[in-house]
């Protein structure tokens, strides 16, 4: 198989998501009606973001173990694409919330957690860009990135499950946000997971493009 097979897979999966996501029969739950289809588009943003920043975390740890410029670039660019997906997730969530929960912002614990987590990640880029010494920049950015990741996880995955939340998975609401067992309709699952994989692969693709561009820039700078 050629090295770009996963890019084609991403195209195929997202085409499938965009076609099947609109045409399959969906269950009617509460006041969601057709907006339940947002599950194929809004939720994969967050799953994709989580995977991308996890990759970023791994490269930050690798950088601290062995300070190579390459690891620093990889960590930054994966975090960047992850943050873009996070912003899109937040915006799409607000549109969805406006028509099902009554207002775009309901101070739902998951909304608040996601917003805070995103701000923490924005601070990562500010912090990284504020330093000119490459070695110092890489080290501080890596340490901060690890910190950001471990704030992000409780903010978005632990805290919302411990309090009352409008999102599925909160106290008093049925359904597991991780979609384990029978909490997701089987036909919806057949579109949801391909969507997650498709969006994640697209995120990886864009990240690698940025990494390659950044690497070229660095080469030009030092040659």
């Amino acid at each position: 198989m050629r090295h770009y097979w996963w890019k084609i897979l991403s195209i195929v999966l997202l085409l499938y998501t965009f076609i099947a996501g609109f045409l399959i029969k969906v269950p009617t739950i509460g006041n969601l009606y057709e907006t339940i289809r947002n599950l194929f588009f809004h939720v994969p943003m967050w799953f994709g973001q989580l995977i991308l920043i996890s990759v970023s975390l791994i490269y930050s740890i690798l950088y601290l173990r062995k300070p190579q410029q390459r690891y620093d670039i990889l960590a930054t660019e994966f975090a960047r694409t992850g943050s873009v997906m996070g912003v899109l997730g937040l915006l799409t969530g607000m549109i969805w919330a406006n028509y099902t929960w009554g207002a775009p912002w309901n101070n739902d614990p998951k909304q608040l957690g996601a917003a805070i987590a995103l701000l923490i990640y924005l601070a990562y880029f500010v912090l990284r860009n504020s330093m000119t010494d490459l070695d110092k920049r890489g080290r501080v950015a890596a340490v901060y990135n690890i910190f950001a990741y471990f704030i992000y996880i409780p903010m978005i995955m632990v805290l919302p499950r411990m309090v009352e939340s409008l999102h599925p998975g909160g106290q008093g609401v049925e359904g597991n946000p991780g979609f384990g067992g029978s909490s997701l309709d089987p036909t919806m699952r057949m579109v949801f997971w391909p969507a997650v994989l498709g969006w994640t692969l697209l995120g990886v693709w864009i990240s690698t493009l940025n990494v390659r561009l950044r690497t070229l820039e660095e080469q030009k700078h030092f040659s």
Partner: protein
């Protein structure tokens, strides 16, 4: 790469054509083709166009960077 596009496009067209045929058999009235089922197929056509456009953009970017890497 060009072959890939042609393949993808033909797959998509088969998809759309199949959907249309199916509906044409169902209702013989004016509500056929892209006008069927509350015109949801129009939305599908729009978002698929956007998605394909975005992918073409990303692929072109990818190839441009590949060319730069070769020259570097």
């Amino acid at each position: 790469m060009k072959k890939l596009f042609t393949t993808l496009l033909s797959v998509l067209l088969v998809f759309v054509a199949g959907a249309q045929e199916h509906i044409a058999n169902d209702t013989a009235t004016a509500q056929t083709g892209l006008r069927a089922d509350g015109k949801i197929y129009v939305v599908v056509a729009v978002i698929v166009t956007i998605l394909l456009g975005l992918y073409i953009y990303v692929i072109r970017l990818d190839r441009k960077i590949s060319r730069l890497e070769k020259n570097a």
